[in-house]
């Protein structure tokens, strides 16, 4: 009797296969990302570099160790973080189009970066020396400050505003307000600074060095670790906050942890890679569609695998293997992501994939 109540075995088997398939896909994409690029490196030499074997061409060792390995690891981390953040936002707001940036985290980061790059024309060299000193890291710092500020604001406002929709509208309005300030900065800035700012806003997995990668990994691990505590709470939130409350959950605490985890995750990605769209909104949908479930006990591991794979694939395409050209990562995610979201919206039968909105 009990047997019939748990997941039907056929469904469980299918899910196990899917998990296995994605693990293989991730391994394949990982090796391909190391092998392909402006120069192709044979797979056996990639293996040689990874295990530290002698006798691999030195330029290849350099390329793999200092360019491709950090890039693919950045892509993996960013993919996981964006997907995890997106899933939590979609569940909390019970909205299929919610994404990691819906509360304005990226607006805050953009503002920080805009002030760092563009604002220096006003404050006359206050940031300029710092930028030349810290190099790329000062952008990370500016973005982190901006994202952190918004994060603090969200957590603060989240305590007072009970209605999630109100929170959503506040986030949107905050985004509009910051983009107005950014526009103002752009309007009065020199063209080369504007270009520097646009390049940041295109997003990139390439600029992250090993030191930064360590920091990023630590922050993202913390964010994902927080989410790993929440499958039960997130499941309860699927029914709405009132139901969650009557099932004995501490909704205030739950909401705080969700906001903290989602904001830290999206903030970390934006700080190190720039604002990267679509992965966060698309991956949770892919997971729900493939695994045919809204249960976060399955969705959380699923989006971690799918997020890593999708992000690596996007990064690989952006490198345009075999050419000297590199596309901005946002171009790739948007080019593939936009049609995907259109497809999700059109295909959505009465809640067949996620929410009846």
């Amino acid at each position: 009797m009990k047997q019939t109540l748990k997941s039907p075995t056929s469904q469980q088997t299918k899910r196990l296969w899917l998990f296995g398939l994605f693990l293989l896909l991730i391994l394949a994409l990982f090796l391909l990302s190391l092998a392909l690029g402006s120069v192709s490196i044979p797979l056996k030499d990639i293996w040689g570099v990874l295990i530290g074997r002698e006798g691999v061409r030195e330029s290849w060792v350099y390329i793999v160790q200092n360019s491709r390995l950090p890039r693919v690891l950045t892509a993996v981390l960013a993919g996981i973080a964006l997907s995890a953040s997106g899933l939590q936002m979609q569940t909390m707001f019970r909205n299929p189009l919610a994404d990691p940036f819906i509360l304005g985290i990226n607006s805050g980061a953009s503002l920080g970066v805009a002030i760092a790059i563009l604002g220096s024309s006003f404050v006359g060299g206050l940031f300029l020396p710092a930028m030349s000193l810290g190099g790329e890291f000062s952008l990370v710092l500016a973005a982190s400050l901006g994202a952190g500020l918004v994060l603090a604001l969200i957590l603060l406002v989240g305590r007072w505003v009970q209605n999630p929709t109100t929170l959503l509208i506040l986030g949107l309005m905050f985004g509009h307000a910051t983009s107005a300030v950014v526009s103002l900065l752009v309007y009065f800035s020199a063209p080369e600074r504007i270009q520097a700012y646009s390049i940041w806003s295109f997003g990139s997995f390439s600029g992250v060095n090993w030191t930064q990668l360590n920091v990023m990994a630590l922050v993202i691990l913390a964010g994902v670790g927080l989410m790993a505590l929440l499958p039960k709470g997130l499941n309860a939130l699927l029914l709405g906050e009132d139901y969650a409350r009557t099932m004995g959950l501490n909704v205030g605490l739950l909401r705080f942890i969700v906001l903290l985890s989602a904001s830290v995750l999206s903030g970390a990605v934006t700080a190190f890679c720039g604002p990267i769209g679509f992965i966060g909104v698309a991956v949770p949908h892919i997971a729900r569609n493939l695994f045919k479930t809204s249960n976060h006990k399955i969705l959380i591991p699923a989006i971690i695998l799918i997020g890593a794979a999708v992000s690596m694939a996007a990064s690989l395409i952006a490198q345009l293997p075999g050419s000297q050209l590199v596309l901005p990562i946002n171009v790739v995610t948007s080019l593939f992501g936009a049609p995907f979201v259109v497809w999700v919206v059109l295909k959505r039968k009465r809640g067949a994939t996620s929410f009846n909105v």
Partner: protein, 336 residues
């Protein structure tokens, strides 16, 4: 004496608007709900039924007075402990897809499982038993979004029951259902109270069903008073009519339903027996006729004659007799 599951004394409910004077919806509510009892909360739209339900569930703070759940003050309960006392089915339909019926029902075990929601054998047994009691065990592997409204409502009730509460509170559980679906749900709620010793409290707009199924009615009027009593008592002492009578609508204690009050000046004499007469009377009322008990010379005389499977209506009007086979034709022939 048995301790009531829910008891309020001097309860004041309403909303606090930003710390200013709170908006009081009802005051001095002294209510009591016992195990095994099915109570329907009825009242006109907007009198605060949902507010009362949300307040006694702990979803909304009270403004004053006292709420005792199993003899203990509501505000002293830990959320988890309270979840073992009372569970709910809320008005708005849930908007979750890609979730199976058994998964949704298993969420009722949340108060009893740990951080990672590991279900024990016993937990699954409760889920299974609950699905059986509600009569949806055949649906347990279906996805919730593929169910009909009635089936989904039953599953929501199953989820609430899986919480093994002493008190089950439902806010208009029949709102989105067709009439047979409403009857099924009300029957189920009555059975849960009488057969499983739960206290069941539901708000509803289906007065007719409430009168038939409820053990007691809490009748809430638009000044926030609540009158308690068996449905029949409230009908016979006129409370029911008083609360709901409005211009043009009248509660008819004979039929237990609401009639439109547009019985006109023209009168008709109606004779016959059985359901045919009841429905003919309704048609005549609608057409604006007062149906007389005695024949007044000069007014039309309608005679319903069911014979075998054919029903005919004979109308005597100014000396001539015409026979009809449908109510529609009958109404057309009467003088406007």
């Amino acid at each position: 004496m048995i301790e009531p599951v829910l008891q309020t004394s001097g309860l004041r409910i309403g909303y606090r608007n930003g710390g200013k004077t709170p908006k009081v919806i009802a005051d001095q509510l002294n209510l009591q709900l016992n195990a095994g009892e099915f109570v329907c909360l009825v009242g006109p739209n907007g009198v605060g039924k949902s507010t009362l339900l949300r307040t006694v569930t702990g979803l909304q703070p009270k403004l004053g007075g006292e709420i005792l759940m199993s003899g203990k003050k509501l505000e002293t309960y830990q959320p988890r402990e309270l979840a073992g006392q009372v569970s709910v089915v809320l008005t708005s339909p849930i908007s979750v897809g890609a979730m199976r019926v058994d998964e949704l029902t298993a969420m009722g075990r949340f108060p009893f499982t740990g951080l990672f929601d590991r279900m024990s054998e016993h937990d699954w047994e409760v889920v299974h038993e609950t699905l059986r009691v509600v009569g949806v065990e055949k649906l347990s592997h279906r996805y919730v979004h593929t169910l009909s409204d009635g089936e989904r409502q039953k599953v929501m009730i199953a989820r609430a029951l899986a919480q093994e509460p002493r008190l089950l509170i439902l806010d208009e559980p029949t709102a989105y259902l067709d009439l047979p679906g409403r009857v099924v749900v009300m029957n189920l709620l009555h059975d849960l109270a009488s057969g499983h010793d739960k206290a069941v409290l539901t708000s509803t707009h289906d007065l007719d069903l409430a009168l038939r199924h409820a053990d007691r009615i809490w009748l809430m009027d638009d000044v926030g008073r609540i009158i308690q009593g068996a449905p029949e008592d409230l009908v016979l002492n006129g409370s029911f009519a008083q609360t709901f009578n409005r211009a043009g609508v009248r509660f008819d204690p004979l039929s237990g339903t609401f009639d439109s009050q547009n019985s006109g000046s023209k009168s008709v004499f109606l004779e016959g027996v059985g359901p045919e007469v009841v429905w003919t009377r309704r048609a005549l009322h609608r057409a604006g006729f007062a149906v007389d008990e005695e024949w007044i010379p000069g007014s039309p005389r309608v005679c319903v004659m069911p014979q075998n499977d054919v029903i005919t209506w004979q109308v005597e009007l100014v000396g001539q007799t015409i026979t009809f086979t449908t109510v529609y034709d009958l109404l057309q022939s009467l003088p406007k």
